[in-house]
Symmetry: C2
Subunit: 199 residues, 2 copies
DNA sequence: CTCCGCATATGACGATCGTCATAGCAAACC
DNA sequence: GGTTTGCTATGACGATCGTCATATGCGGAG
């Protein structure tokens, strides 16, 4: 009775595999990350892969995308709380900036990585990625709305923010430089501020 | 008599490999595309891979990225010629829109695909991707400048356009819908028009 | 204690990966 | 003619891939 399992969260080793998968996807992508890499990185036992993930690698990737999506969304939601329009941009960009620099531009977004390799025989991966993007957009749009951006505009602006930041992240990795992200952030902040009603 | 027989198909087997690699990278990514896939898709002879590409898969990928970069840059340069600021956005977006729809959202940007898997033991790939992005930015910035956007602003705006469109492309693949790209385009066009000197 | 079910250990399967060595063929040059 | 050069055919190498079958340990329920 000592181990209280929280609902939605499985064994330690299971969750470690999901987190490691998300971590490795950021650097090597979906096809570039082997099951053995996940085992090694997470320290999880190799024999229990198909016990925890009967759906194999696709299921693991799906949960990794979902995990990354929820994790980042929580950060956005917290940072957007009670801020102005420009701070909504910072909320989304801060995380990527840290990931890029700390990894020396070897890591990017796991959701993007999975999306650009998504096979037609694994539509669950694209669906999970779409769900992650969608949640980020919704959270950002709500934050922009609270900051005074008209609802009709907030949705389009949120899409713009997600797209521009994700794209800039890729460009930063290629150039091994944060400059593209900083330029995009400056433009996005101006855009968000100008979109506030009556401002 | 030297080139008559060869002219149709013999000599360009090498170029067909490069084009096929770029094509396949758009759908399956770098790690997801095997050398044998490139051979099959291009119809090129298998025995001459390492004759044409002594550097192996990395060299092929590098040239594929370069090819895709130049190909798209030519399209941007042509469409930007003598247009207004908003048409610079269309120039960059038209190609991706077509690729997305015709592939039923299975294909994206090969440069992005290679970048997000870029390994540390193959810095040439990141460099080739950075060069491609850089050329697109320069061409777009020049077009924006000709349309009346101040030089200092044109550069940042070009970065913004490339990042937002590439990011939107990824979101479209995940959602299997062009809506994100259309929304981003609308925002970008307004942004480009407003950036013309005198506004 | 026995029994059962969850978690893990271990080893292997066939397939595919990037890579390369060797041989062969045709055209081009002396 | 002979020889060199450019491209291709063929087969294989070791490694790694995702996957799974089987066996073992281990804790709670009867």
């Amino acid at each position: 009775m000592m181990n209280v399992i929280i609902a939605g969260m499985g064994t330690d080793s299971r969750e470690r595999m999901v987190r490691s998968a998300a971590y490795l996807f950021r650097e090597r992508g979906y096809s570039g990350t082997g099951f053995r890499d996940v085992i090694t990185h997470s320290g999880a036992p190799r024999g229990s892969i198909y016990h925890h993930f009967p759906g194999g690698k696709v299921q693991l990737a799906e949960e990794a995308v979902r995990y990354a999506g929820e994790f980042l969304n929580a950060g956005i939601a917290a940072a957007v709380e009670g801020g102005d329009a420009a701070s909504a941009v910072d909320a989304f960009v801060g995380w990527w900036r840290q990931v890029l620099i700390k990894s020396e531009f070897r890591a990017g977004c796991p959701v993007v990585a999975v999306t650009v390799e998504s096979h037609e025989d694994a539509p669950q991966l694209a669906a999970a990625a779409a769900a992650a993007f969608g949640r980020w957009q919704d959270t950002l749009a709500t934050g922009l709305g609270n900051a005074g951006v008209p609802d009709a505009r907030a949705g389009r602006l949120a899409t713009m923010i997600v797209a521009a930041v994700e794209g800039a992240t890729v460009m930063c990795r290629a150039r091994r430089d944060v400059a593209p992200l900083d330029e995009v952030v400056a433009e996005l902040k101006d855009l968000a501020r100008a979109a506030v009603a009556g401002a």
